[in-house]
């Protein structure tokens, strides 16, 4: 069903509307995009352009109003209810802007949550989570509670949690927005280093153009449409586009 050949995510004519009548908002207006395995794809654009809506649809958290979405070789329309929930649990990892760690669990326990959700025994899950915690450089803070960790450390725990169950798709929503520049760079470097591999696709939604150099591909959006797709070598084109878009919105 899932394969490392072909795109990890394929969107064709994806549209999303919220509300109805005069209050209706078209967040996405016919998106066609492929997300490839083995790449870190940045999704960039001004606030309100539809980035979060798009990744929510790609991750199976929202249904599109129109269009087709293929996720890891599965048509999302064929997955519904508990099947979709189980699919997410097995194949998708999430890194949230606000970390969303459980405050009463230690760092390693938080990282083990996806495995516990999948039914693994707690001791086994924590053992596996400890490997990821070590990989993100927090071995000595494994027993700390989130309140005892800095923002950057909490986000590293969140990255470990997102990877512990070996997902095929990793979705990161503004992972550095709550961090200072240095911590943000550290986190992005970590994402680049530990998440990208040939059988996994990584999507990162970000405002921060300082991390564009870490991306394999950058998709720029505005007003619910894809404006531009740039590879690593086309960074300057992208920066110019971003500047124009920002000025237009201002």
């Amino acid at each position: 069903m899932t394969s490392a050949s072909g795109p990890a995510v394929c969107c064709r004519g994806v549209t999303k509307e919220f509300g109805s009548g005069e209050a209706q908002v078209r967040a996405l207006r016919g998106i066609d995009v492929d997300i490839q395995y083995g790449q870190m794809t940045l999704l960039v654009g001004p606030s309100g352009c539809g980035k979060t809506t798009l990744i929510s649809i790609m991750a199976g958290l929202l249904d599109p109003s129109a269009g087709e979405v293929s996720l890891l070789g599965c048509n999302l329309r064929s997955l519904a209810g508990s099947r979709l929930v189980r699919f997410r649990a097995e194949h998708i990892g999430f890194v949230f802007q606000q970390y969303n760690l459980l405050p009463s669990l230690t760092a390693v326990e938080n990282a083990a949550v996806p495995l516990i959700i999948r039914g693994m025994r707690r001791s086994q899950a924590i053992e596996r989570a400890l490997e990821l915690i070590t990989e993100v450089g927090l071995r000595d803070r494994a027993q700390a509670l989130p309140a005892q960790l800095s923002g950057g450390q909490q986000q590293r725990v969140a990255i470990a949690r997102a990877l512990v169950h070996e997902p095929r798709l990793l979705v990161c929503d503004e992972p550095t927005a709550a961090l200072d520049a240095q911590s943000g760079r550290t986190v992005m470097n970590l994402i680049r280093r530990v998440t990208v591999r040939s059988d996994r696709a990584v999507i990162v939604v970000t405002h921060d153009n300082r991390v564009f150099d870490l991306a394999d591909r950058i998709i720029a959006m505005s007003d619910g449409l894809i404006d531009l797709t740039a590879t690593e070598s086309e960074q300057s084109v992208l920066r110019n586009h971003q500047q124009r878009t920002t000025e237009n919105h201002a």
Binding site: A59, S82, V85, R88, F96, P103, E109, I117
Partner: protein, 380 residues
């Protein structure tokens, strides 16, 4: 996932303890007040409870409860003895009497006159002396709490002299009885002696106690006695519940306790429910994350119900234990007001049901929020 539910619940210690407190408070009020109500109602039938040797109580047709004495002529005793199936029948008198205390004050007392020959109706638990000591001139048996009331601070011993309705009585025995509804001393003497202590009156017979012959059903015998004698004859059970029913219907006691129990339910439920709901609200992002990571609504329902059950069981245990401890302390303190009361198992079951309702209602409010939660909200 059970472990996760437990950690989420206990991680926020303030809210966790707040919910447990709410449930415990509600349980304590419900159990304690309901138990006091049951105990008080039992006390209205204390004289019935303390006489277990008789199957049937016979009394005037118009009598409504054990205190509503309608004296009968002594000849009624012969009529009851003449009914087929009656193994034996004896006299019992019950009246209020004026007793002088140690410091010269007067107080009311309950005077019970038991059968001269068999002492049927005499107290079950004797602390000092024997039933046979009632044969001594002017002999009376006094209950322990009544003794302390009449002779405060004095050592409890037989031989004390009482002034009852200006007649001399000698305490020949100390007993323990079921505390009466009105905390008056309970004084036992022979029927013939009781008649002399009472103010003069034409009829002195309060009750006839009867026992059914082996093989006779007490209920059927009671109906036969009523038919043949024209008196009211009730089994022990029937008289017990008739007495309690009278006080429930004709006093404000049930309403008063009912209000308190209801308040306990409402206040306890409000504290627990509100705190539990707040706990859910504050963890909404976490629940959203769990949904995004693949926890189904079914499992979320299980988590929340487990959390609610944990606080419910803990709060119930603490509240019920608190009630039991309260009555134990009352017993040990020697306070006659609440002595002899406990938490009946029926009250514990009712309290458990009330806690169950509180927990379910609290859970429903929280469940509704979590189930309608869109997992995509974690991206906002």
């Amino acid at each position: 996932m059970n472990w996760l539910a437990w950690k989420m619940l206990t991680g926020d210690r303030t809210k966790y303890l707040g919910i447990v407190f709410g449930v415990a408070f509600g349980t304590l009020l419900i159990a304690q007040q309901a138990s006091i109500f049951v105990g008080l109602m039992r006390r209205t039938s204390s004289q019935i409870i303390d006489i277990t040797s008789a199957d049937i109580w016979v009394m005037d047709q118009r009598q409504r409860n054990v205190d509503d004495i309608r004296p009968m002529p002594d000849s009624r005793l012969g009529r009851v003895r003449g009914v087929t199936g009656v193994e034996w029948a004896v006299r019992l008198s019950k009246s209020m009497i004026r007793v002088r205390t140690l410091n010269g004050d007067f107080t009311q007392g309950i005077l019970v006159g038991v059968d001269d020959a068999s002492f049927t109706g005499a107290p079950l638990e004797m602390l000092q002396g024997h039933h046979a000591d009632l044969r001594r001139p002017d002999g009376v048996i006094l209950d322990f709490d009544g003794y302390r009331q009449l002779f405060p601070g004095e050592p409890v011993t037989v031989g004390r002299v009482l002034d009852m309705n200006d007649r001399r009585a000698v305490v020949v025995g100390i007993c323990r009885v079921t505390p009466p509804f009105q905390t008056f001393p309970v004084i036992y003497t022979r029927y013939s002696q009781a008649v002399q202590f009472m103010p003069p009156q034409r009829n002195t017979l309060s009750f006839i106690l009867a026992r059914a012959e082996r093989g006779q059903q007490p209920q059927k015998l009671a109906r036969r006695i009523s038919r043949q004698t024209g008196l009211k004859a009730l089994t022990w059970d029937e008289f017990f519940w008739l007495n309690i029913g009278y006080y429930i219907e004709n006093t404000g006691i049930p309403v008063n306790f009912g209000i308190t129990v209801t308040l306990g339910f409402i206040v306890g439920g409000a504290i627990a429910g509100q705190t539990f709901y707040l706990f859910t609200l504050e963890n909404l992002r976490q629940f959203g994350s769990l949904k995004a990571m693949g926890v189904t609504n079914f499992r979320l329902i299980g988590m929340i119900l487990l959390q609610a059950s944990i606080v419910g069981i803990m709060g119930y245990g603490i509240g019920l234990g608190g009630s039991a401890l309260f009555f134990e302390l009352m017993e040990r303190s020697g306070q006659a007001d609440l002595r002899g009361m406990w938490v009946p198992w029926q009250v514990a079951v009712i309290a458990a049901a009330a806690v169950g309702v509180i927990i379910v209602l609290s859970s429903l409010l929280s469940l509704r929020r979590v189930l309608v939660l869109e997992p995509a909200m974690v991206f906002r």
